[in-house]
Symmetry: C2
Subunit: 457 residues, 2 copies
């Protein structure tokens, strides 16, 4: 609260991988760090699909940020959505949980506000095909996926039954592959024996992509391997298929030959594109930086905004050398920015540009099945899956929930249970209701992490 | 779906303690059982306060009903809200997840639809003081409780700060005592060191009741013990205090001397009264049975509806001999009804009335602190807490989530973590939005367990 503080003030926007690693790297620095985030938790986004499919609880992939960082004495965590960044005044302005506004001045700023889902200009698809970017998305999809099997059990009309038992995942990147694989495992394995009128095994799971390959960044060989594994799991993989329409009962798809067809399906998942935080556009407008089609800001080689060496942009909001929007880029970017700030404070600014070290990438298809590309080494099947498990356990070691996560995985991978299937009325009808209210009274629906609901009215 | 089935058809309404135990007791009976419930899970209501205060995940207190009962071959589980019971035609009519309607005929019916919160005619309190009856309630309160500390951290106005840091629990029964105790533990123990501008220890936790005693059914001695323990934890216990108004910023309270005062508080929890499912009134109207003020149906000594020996009413919906609305009464009632049905099918109807065996009751105040009354034995402090832990572990043995629950308890009681703090935007503003939409378009907001949200529009 003391704006006359002598210490260098660092403001970090966002509590994802970029923000968290930046803050941690400033732990012993002689600075006052303020972390401002619209969520009160650090979201482990790569495991969100496991929340959607009933394996993990929301708390296991979203530990409270101030809990993780509570021992960092030079840090203040504030819950609020940063709406404006004023580069001239060096101040960020945030909306505290949809209610109060507050301002925070900075000497150095690290913007790591991430990206949301993109529907490539078709935002009306969102209602029918939720994305996979937030806890809300994951719980919404959990309600829809498990709810579809429930509806199928009471449905008597064969056509509607077919719609309920058809699941379509749009986008064959890692998230799409993981979702499709887990829905197939649900249908063919986890739900076995639970229904009397339907056989969940009848469910159709379709993975669609406009690209000609599954998991393009993994290269052709692993793409083919992943496709084979998915098909063996019972997933129908349709490539070269562009989604041109989405509604309540299905999708319209245009194939590579130009013909259009209809896929009846009640339950659609959108895992096809990302769009950077709107803060990117603000930064670009004020600084003259360029932004790419996904709204990401073109930064200088040291991750700073052109003309503003005090402002770093990292993670999914940043455009540099075609780096992918993955956790590793954000983590390394956050750490790099913190290191630059520390070096400058010591009077020894480093001229070294950001160098991304690619530790490899992996995607899980099902239990015991994954693909991984680590440098020039390509793994698939059980070895790739064990590598995935090992790396995620290492990462989770920093979190209190690692042990229950391990237990949940044991239950799911060794047994066949889905321990987290509880859905709420709000999850199920809430989003729609919120959208309706937002049209008439936007102030009532602040996008925020945790306000008492009265406070937003 | 085959209504011409030769087997005796039992329909059970509700998947709470009464319904679950009735279904299980019919496991080996030569009957076709259909369980219809508005939720897709069995809610372990006594632990709901631990979901609200970040100890357990929703999945841990709400395992999927069809998962728990999947091996029971004579059972079909259908997700739907029973809206009508036609005693003449012997058919129940249900709303499948807010969309389709379906009918289910029965030869025997067990109605165990439970009870909701009652505001004693002041339903407008609900918006400001959520109850503690459902997963939605618990997650709503989780958002409000943790959100209040977040708001306090950014608040600069001292009056508003005070409102954010004041928590009021209305109702000093077991649920109210447990909530107040856990909020106090949060403030004084779990959140220690996580904030920079506020000290969560400053938080005020008030437990209010119009009665002159805490935990009246436990007797005076344990009531006094519980009050002492709560006060030692930092809870302000205000007895003989009747709530006469609730709004966004506080409560109006009338004390025993007739004077009225104001308690400023943003976060209120209502744990004061219950109101039986509206199905009770329907049954009463059709059969001529009486209902009490809480909407519970006066049943015959064999738990059947007067004049309808084929219809049993058990659990919180049933009024008999002033039995309390606790899990044990529901469990034993469900089992008894199943036994009666089995005996009749064997041609040996038992004339024995329902006899409730009181196994005792307990309430947790904090870790290591509880009160318990088992017959004439009264326990408090650590022995009572160990008894609570032991009994809950025994009960949970039937569920897959027992192990993660144990881990979560270890984290909370031995450590001081709150592993489940994730809240969603929907949880926080969703309920209000749903209520608004409900006013203009009730069909869009079916009270249901798990429909894909589009299906309800």
């Amino acid at each position: 609260m003391d704006d006359t503080s002598q210490r260098h003030r660092v403001v970090v926007v966002g509590s994802g991988f970029g923000g968290l690693f930046a803050v941690k790297a400033l732990r012993r620095a002689p600075v006052d760090v303020t972390l401002i985030s619209s969520t009160t938790y650090h979201l482990f986004q790569p495991l969100l699909y496991q929340v959607a499919t009933g394996i993990l609880s929301s708390g296991e992939v979203a530990p409270a940020t101030r809990d993780i960082l509570s021992s960092q004495r030079n840090l203040t965590v504030l819950a609020g959505t940063v709406k404006n960044i004023d580069l001239d005044r060096q101040v960020v302005r945030a909306h505290a949980l949809g209610r109060t506004w507050f301002e925070q001045p900075y000497d150095s700023l690290i913007v790591a506000a991430g990206a949301g889902q993109s529907y490539f200009g078709n935002d009306h698809f969102a209602e029918f095909a939720p994305g996979m970017k937030s806890i809300d998305d994951a719980l919404e999809l959990r309600g829809r996926i498990f709810g579809a099997f429930e509806m199928a059990e009471v449905e008597t009309d064969p056509e509607q039954l077919d719609e309920w038992l058809s699941f379509v995942v749009v986008g064959a990147g890692p998230t799409g592959v993981e979702m499709a694989g887990q829905i197939a495992e649900l249908a063919h394995r986890a739900l076995r024996g639970e229904f009397r009128r339907i056989d969940p095994h009848q469910a159709k799971v379709i993975l669609l992509d406009a690209a000609p390959q599954v998991l393009p960044p993994f290269g052709e060989k692993l793409g083919v391997k992943a496709k084979q594994k998915l098909e063996r799991l019972g997933v129908e993989v349709q490539l070269g298929a562009m989604v041109v329409g989405v509604d309540a009962d299905g999708l319209d798809v245009r194939d590579a030959d130009g013909s259009t067809r209809r896929i009846p399906s009640r339950t659609k998942v959108w895992a096809a594109g990302v769009s950077a935080s709107p803060l990117g556009r603000q930064l670009a407008e004020q600084s003259g930086a360029e932004i790419d089609r996904a709204g990401r800001v073109h930064v200088d080689p040291d991750l700073t905004l052109p003309g503003h060496p005090e402002v770093f942009v990292v993670g999914d909001m940043m455009a540099l050398d075609d780096l992918p929007g993955v956790a590793q880029v954000a983590m390394q970017g956050g750490k790099y920015a913190a290191k630059q700030i520390k070096a400058r404070l010591k009077g020894k600014p480093s001229g070294e540009p950001f160098h991304y070290f690619d530790k490899g990438s992996m995607a899980v298809i099902a239990r015991n099945q994954a693909v991984a590309k680590i440098g020039s080494v390509e793994l698939w099947g059980i070895p790739a899956w064990l590598a995935w498990l090992f790396i995620h356990l290492i990462y989770l070691v920093g979190f209190k929930n690692r042990f229950t996560t391990l237990v949940s995985w044991f239950v799911t991978f060794v047994g066949r249970g889905r321990p987290q299937r509880a859905v709420t009325v709000q999850q199920v009808v809430g989003r729609q209701a919120i959208e309706r209210v937002a049209q008439t009274d936007p102030a009532a629906v602040g996008k925020s992490g945790a306000p008492p609901s009265r406070s937003v009215a």
